[in-house]
Amino acid sequence: MKKKEETIFQLLSQKPWESSQAKLDNDHDGKTLNLSREKIGVRTVIVVSTIIFSFFIVAYADRLLIHDWKSMPEPWLLWVNTSVLMITSYFFHKTKIASDRSENEKVKNGLFIVGFLSFVFIIGQLLAWYQLLNLGYFASSNIANAFFYLLTTLHGLHMLGGLIFWGLTTSKFLKGNYRISRMQRTIELCAIYWHFLLIVWFVLFGLMLFT
């Protein structure tokens, strides 16, 4: 059934009891958006995560104005981690294209590279923590430090959550026990999530860099 594009206002002003509307409604296939449920799921998760990070940014901006704020240095390691994350995102994009073309060997390599780089990123973040802690920047010593540890932890947790799905996808892929269209969709969704994590990191890193 072809979908008529309807704005939310048109949709909400339908009169379901009118017989002319009833004829149209009887043909409706019960789906509101022309998207798979997994895709809407990932989008909802992204929206909720964005809201969570936005609240932290608001709190950060509010707290920034108070006189006791002492900025902390950014270790060079963070720049390395940022580039690692960018490369991860790039490879995920490549993998997604390869999976769309059903080039299985490339997809397999791509998934391994992405997983490896993601772990490198997380270990890199932990090393950055280690450097800062050695320099005496504890969470309790200044609120700027606390925000740094908090935001990196949350971003890392999001990445670990993504890695669970990456692990499920990869093991399914290696076992060969999947439908191609389904696997393509899963890889696409993982790629979207990784791009989202990159953007979040850009925002968070930029925020900490410029304040």
């Binding site: 059934m1 949709l11 909400l12 002003s13 339908q14 009169k15 379901p16 009891w17 009118e18 017989s19 009833a22 409604d25 009887n26 043909d27 409706h28 296939d29 019960g30 789906k31 509101t32 958006l33 998207l35 449920r37 809407i40 799921g41 909802t44 998760v45 929206v47 909720v48 809201i51 969570i52 609240f55 932290f56 709190a59 509010d62 707290r63 108070i66 006189h67 006791d68 704020w69 969470a139 309790s140 609120i143 606390a146 908090l150």
Partner: protein
Amino acid sequence: MSDEHDYKLEAKADISASEASFPPIDYVPPAERPEQELYHSKSWWTTYVFSQDAKYIGVQYACVATSIALVGLFLSLTMRLQLAFPELGILSAPAYYQAITMHGMIMVVYFLTALFLGGFGNFLIPLMCGARDMVFPYVNMLSFWVFVLAVLLLVISFFVPGGPTGAGWTLYPPQAITVGTPGNLWGIVLMLVSLVFFVIGFTMGGLNYVITVLQARARGMTLMRLPLTVWGIFVATILALLAFPALLVGGIMLLLDAVLGTSFFMPTSVSMGELLATEGGSPILFQHLFWFFGHPEVYIVALPAFGIVSDLISVHARKNIFGYRMMVWALVIIGALSFIVWAHHMYVAGMNPWFGYFFATTTLIIAVPTAIKVYNWVLTLWRGNIHLTVPMLFTLGFIITFLNGGLTGLFLGNVTIDVPLSDTYFVVAHFHMVMGIAPILVVFGAVYHWFPLVTGRMLDQGLGKIHFWLTFVGAYMIYAPMYYQGFLGVPRRYFEMYESSYVSTIGLNVFITLSALVVGLAQIIFFYNVIRSVLKGKKAEKNPWKANSLEWQTPKMPPEHGNWGEKLPTVYRWPYDFSVPGADKEYIPQNVPPSEVAGAKVEKT
């Protein structure tokens, strides 16, 4: 028989006259998308404990939420006894604060939110939308068990050294984590961790509710053909997905303040004569975060109640709901407005007083769509064929209660009136009426209404009526005196109140406590009724209330795993075709094809 045949012929002739090539009247093109695969459990554990069937999860949610609510009820009765008879020394001051805190937190978050969205949402959404199950059954199961974990953490906090937190359900820093507040070491940490788990679990459930409503409806079920119950739960879930992150963020930062000694919210402060190490934090920031969650939370509880009430009224007054579209719009508008009124909880928190006027204005605006809903309920009753069944009694009780609770909210929403009434029993009476008693009346109404669908047996109507009158009248005997106490200026949160030369409400306090005991004990009737009816209640016939919505149209009642047997239902109409002129039957269920009711005329609404 021949009559019906004639109707069909006439209808066909009508259509062929207007549109020559139109297919037969019942024809619906075949589905283009494959049906969702249904998960089938294989062992006892996955059937009865880690079930992935939304109906089962709904019942599980309802049972856990009700169990923890009994703890909340018990706490409220101990507080009432303490207030009426302070000389008995039932609760010490710290224990009283702990009881206040846990009572509030349990009732608002772990009971009402979990019951309406987790319980009713899980049970009703797939059935009312015509789906076999939620879209992500595994995530749904996980959501329930994370909720159980959150409840367990909450219960554990009663038994740790220092007891549960006594910071008030709003958990305001700095006092929530400073010395002198009960449970400032273990209690508050467990409380916050429990809330974090609750939010995570809820987000998983909410994902399911939203996507099931959007994507997994039966053929012919447009959004505007959904019963208002589903609309209410749907909008409330969206609110929750947007508002709970604020609680999560505030909770995490407060947790770090408590555990690591950071100063997100902790200002420079002196405690027990010593300067604390923290400095510069902003307690007001926590209040903003908390109430950005806290106000939508009121509507997370209220909107499902609105939806359920609309359906109950329509079914039990045998009349279509007045202004269906307006009801939907009101739900959406209330949902949107609920995000810009939060600071009316903070008029006395030290905000700029002019800032309060913005929030006073938005608060008054929100009364408009809410009033529309109340008018539409009343207009649905107007000239309806009202059956005073137990669900209907609870529904009528809800409308009155919501009205007086809501109207007092208008007083409190104005800065100038709120300032003197703030922190008095007027506020206590207001929020208990509007988001305590009113939603609970709906819960009871809904339980009496849908109990046959869950268990296949009817609840006893006689006991139900006794339960209703004791609860309803008792609730007014509790809260009407509290409004008066509030006007006199009796402050809330005081753990003992004696005779004073300014105000004396000792007698009233005793009266309120006795009423509260009656209402509390009246709930035994309800639980007795439920247990007795589950075991040997009257067997329910199919569709006992003669309702139209899809949940009553399953091939078996109670519905089995997969809900619909062989074939998914097809929907031909909205769920409010009651007493349609010209139709043979007095009600036309949503899945009855047009050919069977060809004579029915459509009444404008």
